[in-house]
Symmetry: D2
């Protein structure tokens, strides 16, 4: 069976989702069920265990892997502190590193991300770093102990699709870790395309959460990820420059048969 393996965790689903931007937390369990995701990311900031208010975690099924992210961290040190806090709060030992000091494009800081990855991997975390696609950075993340590499397709929340295709394809071809395309994927067709390229998985949030029907859109992404993965495994037919008839063109009409 074709499974996504992240540090020995064998996953059937190759769609990871985020929890931000949903019109209501109450819709999240249905989205998760419908899209069959097994890994859900959330900002540690939004997890408030001692609160009297409902906690985001109450909406995540128990068998789902939590992937706390370090959203809000502006450097490696802050990311490390947030990760440790998440673990202390009982969120487990997975962490998605987000180090962002740019408020306009929300682009990650590759250098600080490498640092945070190294520290947290040594502390036993399963580290999934979000990064600007860059081969040398990805190699350093491998060395630093990352469990997967998460290059962006386009700035967070833009729904622009995989605008960094050239660079992401190189990571897929060269890096011996799962490549999970994160940020920018705005339509199921784009998720399918990432999978056809050979990505191991995709992470989607805005495109699901801000669609008109998030529960159904979750389903659409789930189908698209399976479609793309199945196509990748079945090896696609080559692109040809000129036309090739699907049906025989040569001429029974020309042979007096009619």
């Amino acid at each position: 069976m074709d499974l996504l393996d992240i540090r020995g965790n064998k996953l059937k689903s190759r769609l990871l989702i985020g929890t931000g931007k949903f019109p209501s937390k109450h819709i999240i369990p249905q989205v998760i069920e419908n899209c069959e995701t097994q890994v859900v990311t959330m900002a540690v900031r939004r997890v408030d265990i001692g609160s009297k208010e409902e906690n985001l975690l109450d909406y995540i099924p128990k068998d789902t892997i939590l992937l706390p992210n370090t959203s809000g961290a502006r450097n490696a040190e802050e990311a490390v502190r947030i990760a440790r806090l998440a673990r202390a709060m009982g969120c487990g030992n997975w962490v998605k590193i987000e180090v962002i000091s740019d408020n306009k494009y929300l682009l990650p800081d590759n250098q600080e991300t490498i640092k945070a990855t190294e520290i947290l991997a040594k502390e036993g975390f399963i580290v999934l770093p979000y990064m600007n696609p860059d081969l040398m950075t990805a190699r350093r993340l491998v060395d630093a102990g990352a469990a997967a590499v998460m290059p962006l397709g386009a700035p967070i929340g833009t729904n622009k699709g995989i605008r960094t295709k050239e660079l992401v394809q190189i990571l897929i071809d060269e890096i011996d870790l799962p490549i999970i395309v994160d940020a920018g994927i705005g339509k199921p067709s784009q998720a399918a395309e990432a999978m056809e390229m050979g990505a191991a998985a995709v992470l989607v949030n805005t495109a699901i959460a801000t669609s008109k029907d998030p529960v159904q859109m979750g389903k659409a992404f789930s189908l698209a990820v399976k479609a793309g993965r199945t196509a990748y495994l079945s090896k696609m037919a080559p692109i040809k420059e000129h036309a090739h008839a699907s049906s025989p063109l040569t001429g029974f009409l020309h042979k007096g048969e009619l």
Copy 2:
């Protein structure tokens, strides 16, 4: 339930497939089952009912709608003769008009296609014309009695994808008949994209038949078409120029909370 309606025929599947180019006819039933298609096209030329050899039709399940195509016709007259022959042979009254006199790109002849459509529609055929995407031609096909319009995405067999997106989108927006994107679709992601654009269905042959595993690739296309359709119905989130945080960025770290 969301069904594709072609002249009162209500179809669950929005994936039509072709039968040419498969490595062996014996694989066709499995492909059909796996991709759940309900409409299968074949060149009339390849249907040979009186033959001692196995007939292509033997490989099409009984509950599948046959869509004989007029492949080989170079003008309206020949297309009409082939369509009538198909009906006489017991292939039913659906017909896909292909009028092609160009051997290099296999591009359809819109003008002759309109003529053939008009004649055959009057004779009670359910006519699905293959055409070069063109708004005025599509309007004339509507007037001629077409049951759907099948614009090409790229020349047949090229797997180049929907290179005529601009023109196909206009047909989807303006024509009050199902638009079925035919020819050129090479990957499931492209089929999903056609559906996201609002196409009613897609027809795929080469991309399935010449992949390494046609049975699985049929499944991949089936999933992709469902993904794209579901996304279309769920209304996609808008594309934004600048980044928008999925998770709150503002600063609990900055408030001395840690």
Copy 3:
């Protein structure tokens, strides 16, 4: 010398421009001078020889070829009448056929365009038909006596670029008449691209007339057309899948030379 030959008229410039949409007629002579165009199109409607008001023709230098267009014609008959009127008014015997009955996308009617071309070519006009890119239509235009073929890149006035690249390239490769890309070109880079593809010329209006500085933008398009044409004639270097060093990478540093 590399000249554009339209029915024996040898032209140095491969940029044709339109006269609509300029903020003021008074700017037109400067634009023409700056962009070095030799062929200028205008709607016959706007030419009003008997008028006391200033006539558009007053702004076109004497040595410029006038290309009256049949804008406003909804069928072949109307186009023919407008063309004859233009000739009677002294606009010469060039004519750009525009037959448009669609008010939203302003897409041409290929079938009526063929009819008008045939009639006018027989009457001695130099006929340049505007058309939706379509190989069979282009072949019929050749037979009808067209002097060039003008496929659209995108709907008029959209500045979207050459969205019909696949179909236009086929015309360039297959049709033995000058192919002039008309409508949709929004930036000089897109004009250059059309020329690199092998187009004989481009026609630009909106992108020049509605830029902030039409005189300078005319210059920009003129340079771009020359750039693209020169590149086409110099044969471009091939696209490679993998990187190739521009400079020697092998190592003097590794040989103890430093």
Copy 4:
């Protein structure tokens, strides 16, 4: 007058060229003259002043700015040594930093590039670092004293065009230094596009050197760069979703005027 200002050096030309891959060194002076470049890069390795063979420098006109590059350097230290060597050899104090340890895609190492930039800028070099497009790296290069930033469009020598458009545009919008698009530009239209995006200049080598006629292709690029720059300064007309008539469509034909 519109000039490119690199550390007070005011340049008329916004086309920088490389010297590798030409079929013969003898063609280089003609290319330089024809494309009007004022800055020429070469691998320090290829400069051999003491040689009895003809030196590459013999083919560079005296008034051209030399931009030695550190091609062959695998880390900051090697880049620094090569830069110093170039200066000692009389190549002046400009340097293009290339730090590449990947032999397949020849992608730069942003982290080592920042280090080399910092050291060399302090030593008085005018430093132009070649980099993988990345906002945070660009900001660090500014801090390190770079004179310009040179993001890649695609891997060196591929002629694929600006595949990193999304990321390069962000650098153009956010970084207060000239952005010079380097590597990947394969056609003049792509150079024009970079300039329309707001790039300050482009560097081209393979596309000129390996075309069939490098002297003419140099001219083509020169024209394209001017076209793109002129368009950028003239502000391009906006892209519209729907068509807008260039000529008045309303109907004199409908008013009984004919």
